[in-house]
Subunit: 135 residues, 2 copies
């Protein structure tokens, strides 16, 4: 990726006061929303250049190459930027499971609106036990 | 929705220091990611109780009933909460267009990773002119 093209993409992104932009990861072919994390300019640059998704870990204060411990990497298929530039949508190919709990997606608890809802119920099973991801 | 059930859902959500949680809206049947916005506890409560999506507008500092000006409302089909509770996924039925630019989704600019990318290109057309939304 040429510096000019990369600069143009970075210029379309409005990083917040902490230098971060929200990043939604979506499985590119099924449409499944997998997770939301954050990127700084370095993480976004590395992701665009390598095609392997890299976030910024707010808890660790470090670049977080998704799957660096668990092996559950994300390959970037397409990056989208929203209308006001404060969120990016990463259309990815997720290896295995996105969630540290061993589920395909982090959004595994669901509730329906209105009266008669049963509250939050788990709707996505554990497919890879966490001890196998981080053992 | 009973107070107990609502309380249980709210208890699963970890609002940030500003009292907000990130909310991703996704068209429930096509999987299209439409937008990202923010909710406070009042917005989330109203959304769950009425089934009509209400956000918190950070720029206006007020509840934002999606579509209150444009008519492009969102009906909540299912709420999902992520593993650490700091993001909710709203599976919605979007009336018309989600984006104030008149496009179905706010994520209308796309780039591919790696060398040879052409930078950001528009991949979603305007289907409702903004002047018709806000005229």
């Amino acid at each position: 990726m040429s510096g000019g093209v990369l600069d143009a993409i970075l210029a379309a992104v409005r990083f917040n006061d902490d230098g971060l932009v929200a990043a939604i990861a979506q499985q590119h072919d099924t449409g499944e929303v997998l997770m939301l994390a954050w990127m700084n300019a370095a993480a976004l640059t590395e992701t665009l250049e390598t095609g392997r998704v890299c976030y910024w870990s707010r808890s660790r204060g470090a670049l977080w190459r998704k799957g660096e411990r668990s092996g559950q990497t994300q390959r970037l298929v397409e990056l989208r930027v929203d209308c006001d530039g404060d969120t990016v949508l990463l259309r990815v190919d997720q290896e295995g499971v996105a969630c540290h709990t061993g589920r395909r997606t982090c959004f595994y608890r669901a509730a329906a609106p209105g009266p008669g809802t049963g509250g939050l119920v788990e709707v996505v099973p554990v497919t890879t036990p966490p001890e196998r991801l981080y053992g």
